[in-house]
Point group: C3
Chain length 322, copies 3
Amino acid sequence: MPRSIQINESGELVHLLTTEGIPKALMLRILDRAKAFLDPKNPKEVVNAPLLDGKSVFNLFFENSTRTRTTFEIAAKRLSADVVNLNVQASSTAKGESLLDTIDNLAAMKADMFVVRHGQSGAPTLIAKHINKVAPHIRIMNAGDGRHAHPTQALLDAFTIRHFKGDFQHLRVAIVGDILHSRVARSNIHALTTLGVPEIRAIGPRTLLPSGLKELGLQVYTDLSEGLRDVDVILTLRLQNERMRGAMLPSTQEYFKNYGLTADRLSVAKPDAIVMHPGPMNRGVEIDSAVADGSQSVILSQVTFGIAVRMAVMSMLAEARH
Amino acid sequence: MPRSIQINESGELVHLLTTEGIPKALMLRILDRAKAFLDPKNPKEVVNAPLLDGKSVFNLFFENSTRTRTTFEIAAKRLSADVVNLNVQASSTAKGESLLDTIDNLAAMKADMFVVRHGQSGAPTLIAKHINKVAPHIRIMNAGDGRHAHPTQALLDAFTIRHFKGDFQHLRVAIVGDILHSRVARSNIHALTTLGVPEIRAIGPRTLLPSGLKELGLQVYTDLSEGLRDVDVILTLRLQNERMRGAMLPSTQEYFKNYGLTADRLSVAKPDAIVMHPGPMNRGVEIDSAVADGSQSVILSQVTFGIAVRMAVMSMLAEARH
Amino acid sequence: MPRSIQINESGELVHLLTTEGIPKALMLRILDRAKAFLDPKNPKEVVNAPLLDGKSVFNLFFENSTRTRTTFEIAAKRLSADVVNLNVQASSTAKGESLLDTIDNLAAMKADMFVVRHGQSGAPTLIAKHINKVAPHIRIMNAGDGRHAHPTQALLDAFTIRHFKGDFQHLRVAIVGDILHSRVARSNIHALTTLGVPEIRAIGPRTLLPSGLKELGLQVYTDLSEGLRDVDVILTLRLQNERMRGAMLPSTQEYFKNYGLTADRLSVAKPDAIVMHPGPMNRGVEIDSAVADGSQSVILSQVTFGIAVRMAVMSMLAEARH
């Protein structure tokens, strides 16, 4: 198995930075472990397991996100870890300290794991490379970095798809929206390709579709109804308000008219297609309320499974040898 | 026993939204439970009891209040719950997500209890109605909503009165100040009436007295000395600085002159009358320091009892069947 | 042993407000206790010890400092305490409540320990005097107050010096930088003098050297190379950016030229001299990166030892009779 910055010589995950390059077997191991954190009698319930008892998880959020931070905090606490929340933009970096000095200092406080959210693509990887040199027992989890990756989101999406669809081998998955700026889309494309999804479609306005999608094996559509035809899974992306204010899109009304997921549009997908969204939703922009709250929506299951998936990754990282 | 949104068919409390409509027997059960959380040898000490071990309490503060949040956090931790603090105005709602989407998401993270503070009257009730449909195992506690209610404050006030006065049957209670805008006053009037206080007086400037007080059975006074005559309990309300800046009041000096509780004014009450305040106090505005720190003040006991009362409500909510 | 506000009749530490006046034997007891919290097989590892199980530690930060708050939070959690973080400037004081009212309220919530950071010199002492009257079981730890004191920093510096140098009896220690405004310098001077360091040097520009240093037994230098000659320990102080913007210093470049610790400057110290810094560092201002990251730097050891020292003080305070 190829060794990388996030995988050690024994093939164990030592950091989670990106879904790119994680072997299929390891990815499935994460999903299986996550499943073990759900109550077998009630798969909507997450169990507690004191696997991180006595360990300290630091949430380092250089970019504010209460919701994402909470999911990691809950996951860590269900594993009995101590959790320290650090809103880092408000602190040391404001005093002019460098990113790596901040990391060195927190590492010296005897952290066991850093959950890192950062506006700059690559920041968690930079931190992991540095930590591997100075404090190799510390694990890094990427909670979203710039436009680069959001691996726990992709893994929980994969978990949700497998939960509702059984496997990945015969699926058509559509990713809809602002794929250009989306770390969620990027991480999903790598994960779903690795897991064996035979057909992934990218749907969005031309200005929000990056080049290179076809090279990744995707089929590209600019027409929503065409792209949704006969799909099994729809991953709706959040439209960032920032984009709207820029020149990239005319207006949210216009966007909804062309790319908003309505019941009508959904009807061209397979009758048992599931609708997913990473949250928070812009109702009436990328998704209509009738769909968001409809019987095909599995959006809230994603949230619950997200706790189990984060517990899975955290416990596997803690077990890996360094 | 009448079933309501906060009381189930067995008469158990499933949410705490308002003191209005809580039967006397149930209210007394809360006070008795709270008493059990005080050290019998030293009623100023709150004991620990792991009744919420493994449960997650989310503090959802849509309106900032470090002090109130801390009292709920302490109460939950003394019951061994995991506590997650969410300063919600800073997060998802800023991203344009609706209140109920935020609630759905947090519910899907497997919360067991939401403590909700919100600037809008009725928000916790709206949340409870929604939760009863989508996640009925989750309990809602109102930590103050607009001008509507602050039920834990009223219950801790009732506890304090019973602690110092023995019962409610023969008391004259005066509520002094800005009753118009006060959720504390509103919740206290409902609680004390239910508990059998025979005489409740409302005292304040005409502009800060709502209509309808007489219909609630209260006696209304605009003269402080007259209103305080022979009372057993004085509930002093905090004067919101915002009111001062509005047209409703001439100045804090003027307010203090007419409605500030001084030792001189206090002397017309019964000699063993107790002085209460929900905090934080404006010394020299609604209360003079000599009274705030005087021998009749039980203001700090209110704070301690508040921890026990919140523990009582939390543990009763957790035990109720849904 | 002289009784003081921070030492009881039995000579036990009941608060930690300043290193001034702490007897040598007690100071050494703190350092020995801290050593017991390091793994004997790996002195870079801090162990867990449930000595504060069931106790509540409140971090009261009237002045924001995420890093310092985190060190106390980690120390308290390693002792199994419940930790409540209060960013106090954002809360009650904004509502016009007095400092002591805030303290009384938090005390009534049944805290066991307050860690206090405050911009005003003397605030923690004021709080301790008040607490001794109203709630003598509560312990106060000063986490930095104005220009007055930062005792845990001085104790962890002493611990670091003893760790690397064996004892204090034959050392030459240089403190370099803005000594005038530095609570770290002040607390270190008292601690190191008590512990028997025979020669302490103060080095800095004349405008940043307070009067009275010679009376404290220090040798004063305005020339860095001269002051560093043959020293065993260099305590580099952080240059506050505020100073730079004031009239006190021409520019950071100018400061670095004259007082920045470079490898060249360091070479006049003893070959095995250690370099310390309380953090966060301004690289290229008071210290050059080659020195900060060099083999003589023990800056990150200071951070780790700081956790153990804070655990030591917390556990000793908790054990003391009141």
